[in-house]
């Protein structure tokens, strides 16, 4: 019994310590912003490897998710004779929920895990220590460009996901199932609100971008510098990101859409 409490206490303490480290770490990363603004090239290289290389994955996934939404939505809506609102349903699901959430999960699997592994390996091979000894701050030189590249890429990727998803829903709904084209777009246009839906969706994806990239770079930087340690850190990066994204999605949804 005592042992159980001991273990519980230890776990709580070490979790709190880690949270503390993560917070100090992100403050340190943010102080690297002025330097990045004077050396934009460092950021662009990372936007390419974190963002651009994720475009294909996000596009294909968006297309399929949109097509599935078109099929499922049609099945339900046609029971009520409301097929014309298919466009609204597809767009609202994508822009409010699936765009930000699914993109964040894909982003963490494709880019977040790669960031964690890369930074962890740089630590394990003493590249980060080596930089410190060359009087270069690795948090500002290595971590900060990657962090800001991730934060910048996520909202763009989520928007892309939603746009392609709507196209997928359109192909299935209008192209295959014969929903009226004019109604599909007109209903979507009149019922999707710019502020309530689009802006809230963008805010969500921006928040998820910060969370996922933060977790990814911190797990890499905090990894035990061995092959095993890096492998564990990579797994943790993806798992924690998934929990954090789904948890925060609930909180944000409650705040944004909870009332009506």
């Amino acid at each position: 019994m005592l042992a159980l409490f001991q273990k519980l206490g230890y776990t709580t303490l070490s979790t709190l310590q880690k949270l503390g480290r993560a917070n100090l770490f992100i403050l340190h990363v943010v102080t690297g912003l002025p330097e990045i603004l004077t050396r934009v090239r460092l950021l662009l290289v990372q936007v390419y490897s974190v963002g651009v290389l994720t475009v294909l994955l996000v596009s294909i996934s968006g297309l399929f998710v949109g097509m599935v939404l078109g099929l499922q939505g049609y099945n339900v809506l046609s029971d009520f004779g409301a097929e014309q609102t298919l466009g609204v349903m597809v767009a609202a699901s994508l822009v409010r929920e699936l765009g930000p959430v699914v993109t964040a999960l894909l982003f963490s699997g494709r880019a977040g895990s790669a960031l964690t592994a890369e930074i962890g390996l740089m630590k394990a091979t003493e590249q980060l220590s080596g930089m410190e000894m060359m009087a270069v701050d690795p948090v500002k030189r290595i971590i900060a460009p990657r962090f800001f590249a991730g934060c910048l890429s996520m909202p763009l990727l989520a928007s892309l996901f939603s746009m392609i998803g709507v196209m997928g829903g359109y192909f299935v709904g209008v192209g295959l199932l014969g929903v009226d084209e004019g109604a599909f777009w007109a209903q979507m246009k009149s019922r999707i609100d710019f502020y309530d839906d689009v802006v809230n969706g963008l805010i969500k994806s921006a928040v998820f971008g910060v969370i996922v990239t933060w977790i990814a770079v911190f797990e890499g930087y905090d990894a035990v510098p061995t092959s095993e340690g890096v492998s564990r850190a990579t797994t943790r990066s993806v798992v924690y990101s998934a929990f954090a994204v789904l948890g925060w999605d609930f909180v944000l949804t409650a705040l944004m859409f909870g009332g009506d």
Partner: protein
């Protein structure tokens, strides 16, 4: 660089250093002096804390107590900015080379220049090629670190360590895992660079022969203490049984061959239930 009085002759001075990892005391009252312009070797078995000592000198770790003075400044009392200024004057050669794997050889050597200076590209090129020439790898400038042999990687790291014209270089196990030829190359490079650039060198190693052949002075460390010191000749003719065992590579001696274990016969006859 060299001043008149005796204190100026010492670049790094360590007094009563205590440092622990967890409950284990890695250093327990170590005193060392590293003279300017000389090659000082610090030797000891693996795991005694040689790398740790270099990190303490470079300010990456803080001592529990005691002082480490580098060029008249107490390292662990410096602000981060001052510490970085000091580090620009110290080159460190990591055991693995620690080259940046996403940059080629040229860019690795140019890295400190690009980070710390605003020199024009043509000047950077000239400086980098000079440093690469000094280590004999001017022709390898376009290779990526993964394409280099272990010995070449260390030479590139050495070129990078001298790009900012430091006053001191710290070498972490420069000979470990090298074939005889690259071993010879590295021995010659360390000796020549120290003389020609007027550097101070600290070589941390457990390779007795090579280290003894270039060092001006040797410290032997074991179990957190300095157990022997002197010129290579003096060390070779030391009376201390520990020094003798280490220098001659004897299997048994003050460092026992057996890891502490219960009595052998009793252990064999009493298997656990």
């Amino acid at each position: 660089m060299t001043g008149g009085n005796a204190d100026d002759e010492v670049l790094v001075s360590i007094r009563n250093l205590v440092f622990s990892r967890g409950s284990r005391k890695i250093f327990d009252g170590v005193d060392l002096d590293i003279p300017r312009g000389k090659i000082t070797a610090i030797m000891g078995p693996s795991g005694t804390g040689k790398t740790t000592l270099l990190k303490l000198i470079g300010g990456q770790l803080r001592p529990d107590s005691g002082t480490i003075t580098v060029d008249g400044r107490i390292v662990h009392e410096l602000s981060l900015g001052r510490l970085y200024e000091l580090r620009k004057k110290i080159g460190m050669l990591f055991q693995t080379g620690a080259l940046l794997t996403d940059l080629n050889v040229f860019e690795n050597v140019a890295f400190p220049l690009r980070e710390h200076t605003k020199l024009p590209e043509s000047m950077i090129r000239t400086l980098v090629l000079m440093k690469l020439q000094a280590v004999g790898l001017r022709g390898a400038r376009d290779l990526m670190p993964a394409q280099l042999s272990g010995g070449m990687a260390r030479r590139v790291a050495l070129a990078r360590a001298i790009t900012l014209d430091p006053m001191m270089i710290l070498y972490d196990e420069p000979f470990t895992g090298q074939d005889p030829i690259s071993m010879g190359v590295l021995v010659k490079l360390i000796r020549d660079l120290n003389r020609e650039l007027g550097l101070t060198s600290i070589v941390v190693s457990h390779d007795v022969e090579e280290t003894a052949s270039i060092a001006d002075y040797i410290y032997l460390i074991s179990e957190g203490k300095v157990v022997g010191q002197g010129t290579p000749d003096a060390i070779r003719h030391s009376e201390s049984p520990w020094v003798l065992q280490f220098m001659e590579g004897l299997a048994d001696g003050p460092v026992p061959f057996h890891y502490p274990a219960p009595d052998y016969a009793a252990d064999l006859l009493n298997p656990p239930a």
